[in-house]
C-alpha cells in the first residue's frame, strides 16, 4: 500500500523539501528522510560561505598561502566548476564572492575572523588563479570562492544518492532545495515554473524529462540580481527567469548561470544534454 511522507526544513539558506512515496511504514519513511537530510547537512557544513568553520571558508582563508587538501565532495564541485569556467571562458566563475560581499549578498567573514588576510586594497583573483592537483587546491593569489548555487545542486544530488541502494529502488523521491529539484522517477512527472511576475501568482507546467531542474531569477532578491557577471563585477539586470533541465542538479544549477551569462549557452547546454526554458515578465517562453 503506497505511503507518503513530505518534510520541509530550513537548510542551505532556503527551504529543503523531501517527498517520499513508497510501500513502506511511516517510521521507515522517516528514517529514509533523516538520511536524506544528513546528506544535505554534510554539504552545508562543507560548502557554506556563511559558516566560518566550513571547509570552503578554510580554503578561502588559506589556499593562497599554501596548498590545502580538499574532500571528495569539494573536489567534485570544484571540478564541475572549473570545467564550466573553461568552456565559458570565464563567463561562469565561482570567484565572485568579493562582488557579492560588496553588494551585501554575502557576509564579510574576513572581518569576523579579525583576519588581515585581505582589505579594501586586496585584488582578488579569478578562476585562472585556481590550481587543483589530485586532492589539493592552491590559489596563485587571494580568491574568494562562493559555491552557493552549484553547491546547492550538489547537495540535492548527494541526497538523492542515499536512495541508490537496492532495497530503496522503489522509493519515489523528490528533493527540492529552494527550486533546485531532482526526482528519482521523473518519467511522466511535471514541474511548475513560477511566472517571473510574482503578483500574477501563476505557474507554468512543464514535463520533467530530465531528472533535475534548477531555476535562476531575480524576483526574490530585494536588492541586486543574484547572478553576478564576472566580467562586469556586478549583478546582471535581467527580468527573465531561466530554468535548466539536466541529468544532475549540480549541472542544472550551474547551467542556469551559463544560460544568463554565456553567448555560447545553447552549445554548452547541448553538450550536457540539457535544456533551458526562459520566461519573461509577460509570460512569454523561449527555449534552447
Amino acid at each position: 500500500m503506497a505511503n507518503q511522507l513530505r518534510r520541509c526544513r530550513p537548510l542551505l539558506g532556503t527551504y529543503v523539501e523531501v517527498s517520499l512515496n513508497a510501500d513502506l511504514s511511516d517510521d521507515k519513511l522517516l528514517d529514509i528522510s533523516k538520511a536524506v537530510y544528513q546528506a544535505i547537512e554534510s554539504v552545508e557544513k562543507c560548502m557554506s560561505f556563511h559558516n566560518t568553520s566550513s571547509e570552503l571558508s578554510y580554503i578561502n582563508m588559506n589556499a593562497h598561502k599554501q596548498a590545502v587538501r580538499i574532500s571528495n565532495d569539494m573536489k567534485s564541485v570544484l571540478a564541475q566548476s572549473m570545467e564550466l569556467s573553461q568552456m565559458t571562458q570565464g563567463a561562469f566563475d565561482p570567484c565572485v564572492a568579493p562582488t557579492m560581499i560588496r553588494q551585501g549578498m554575502l557576509p564579510n567573514n574576513g572581518n569576523k575572523l579579525g583576519s588581515k588576510i585581505w582589505d579594501k586594497k586586496t585584488k582578488f583573483g579569478s578562476w585562472h588563479d585556481i590550481q587543483i592537483e589530485d586532492d589539493q587546491i592552491y590559489f596563485r593569489r587571494p580568491v574568494l570562492l562562493d559555491l552557493g548555487g552549484i553547491g546547492k545542486g550538489f547537495a540535492v544530488d548527494k541526497a538523492i544518492a542515499t536512495l541508490n541502494s537496492e532495497n530503496l529502488i522503489d522509493v519515489k523521491a523528490t528533493i527540492n532545495a529552494g527550486g533546485d529539484l531532482r526526482m528519482t522517477h521523473p518519467v511522466d512527472q511535471v514541474v511548475r515554473l513560477r511566472h517571473p511576475n510574482l503578483t500574477s501568482s501563476s505557474h507554468f507546467q512543464f514535463p520533467m524529462h530530465r531528472a533535475a531542474v534548477a531555476t535562476s531569477a531575480g524576483y526574490f532578491s530585494e536588492f541586486s540580481h543574484p547572478i553576478i557577471s564576472p566580467t562586469a563585477n556586478k549583478s546582471i539586470q535581467d527580468s527573465r527567469s531561466v530554468s535548466v533541465f539536466a541529468s544532475t542538479c549540480m549541472q542544472a544549477d550551474a547551467l542556469t548561470k551559463v544560460a544568463f551569462l554565456s553567448r555560447d549557452a545553447a552549445t554548452i547546454l547541448e553538450s550536457f544534454d540539457a535544456r533551458a526554458v526562459y520566461i519573461d515578465c509577460e509570460g512569454n517562453i523561449s527555449e534552447c
Binding site: L5, R6, R7, C8, R9, P10, G13, T14, Y15, E17, S19, D26, L30, K34, K152, T174, N176, G178, G179, D180, L181, V187, Q189, V190, V191, R192, L193, R194, L198, T199, S200, S201, S202, H203, F204, Q205, F206, P207, M208, H209, R210, V213, A214, T215, A217, G218, Y219, F220, S221, P226, S241, S243, F245, E270, D273, R275, V277, G283, I285, E287
Partner: protein, 181 residues
C-alpha cells in the same frame, strides 16, 4: 531513460509553451503533522502540553532582545520531564506565512526545526490587515489548511531568513519565560 535532444524539444514545445495555470493567489503546502514533528524532534519521549500566555512586559522584553515582532500572546508548548521543549509557532514574512515546530533543549539550544505548513500569497490580499489577522492567535488545531496543494515548484531561491528571525524570537522567549515555567 535518456531522451535525445530532438525528442525533448518536441515534447517541451508540444506542451504549448507549458500549461498556464492561473491559481488562487494563496497557495499552501503541508508537510509533517504535529505528532510526526514531535517524533522527529523528540522521538518517543513523553511531551506534556503546557498552557502559557505572554504578558505585555514579556512581549516588550522579547521584542527588544530579539529585534522581532511578537504576534501571538498564546504559546503552543509541550514539555518533557527533562525540561526540554516542543513549540509550534508561526513565522510571517512579506509573502509567506509558515507554521513551524521547534525543539529547544533544557539549555535553550535549538535541536530541531520542521516546517509544518507553508503558505504564500503574492496577491493584493497580503497587504490588507484583515488577511493577516486570520493567522493571529491560532492554535495548532485551528491552523489554516487549504485544498490547494501545488507541489514541485522550481523557482528562484527563496531565503528562509524569516525562520531565522522566528527562531531568534523563540530562543529569547525561552530565556525570558520558558525556563522559568
Amino acid at each position: 531513460m535518456a531522451m535525445n535532444r530532438r525528442n525533448f524539444g518536441k515534447v517541451v514545445c508540444g506542451a504549448g509553451a507549458g500549461v498556464f495555470l492561473p491559481i488562487n493567489s494563496l497557495h499552501a503546502e503541508t508537510f509533517l503533522t504535529i505528532p510526526q514533528a514531535m517524533k522527529v524532534i523528540w522521538g518517543d519521549i513523553y511531551l506534556r502540553p503546557v498552557t502559557a500566555f505572554l504578558t505585555e512586559e514579556q512581549v516588550e522584553s522579547i521584542e527588544a532582545a530579539s529585534d522581532t515582532h511578537v504576534r501571538n500572546l498564546e504559546l503552543n508548548l509541550w514539555k518533557t520531564e527533562n525540561n526540554d521543549w516542543f513549540i509550534v509557532d508561526q513565522v510571517i514574512g512579506k509573502h509567506e506565512n509558515i507554521d513551524i515546530a521547534v525543539g529547544l533543549d533544557h539549555n535553550g539550544q535549538v535541536v530541531g526545526i520542521e516546517v509544518l505548513t507553508y503558505r504564500e500569497s503574492y496577491g493584493d490580499e497580503v497587504r490588507h490587515p484583515k488577511w493577516r489577522a486570520q493567522f493571529h492567535g491560532r492554535g495548532p488545531e485551528k491552523i489554516l489548511r487549504l485544498d490547494e496543494d501545488i507541489k514541485n515548484i522550481s523557482g528562484a531561491t527563496l531565503s528562509c531568513r524569516h525562520i531565522t528571525d522566528g527562531i531568534n524570537r523563540l530562543t529569547h522567549t525561552w530565556h525570558q519565560v520558558l525556563r522559568h515555567l
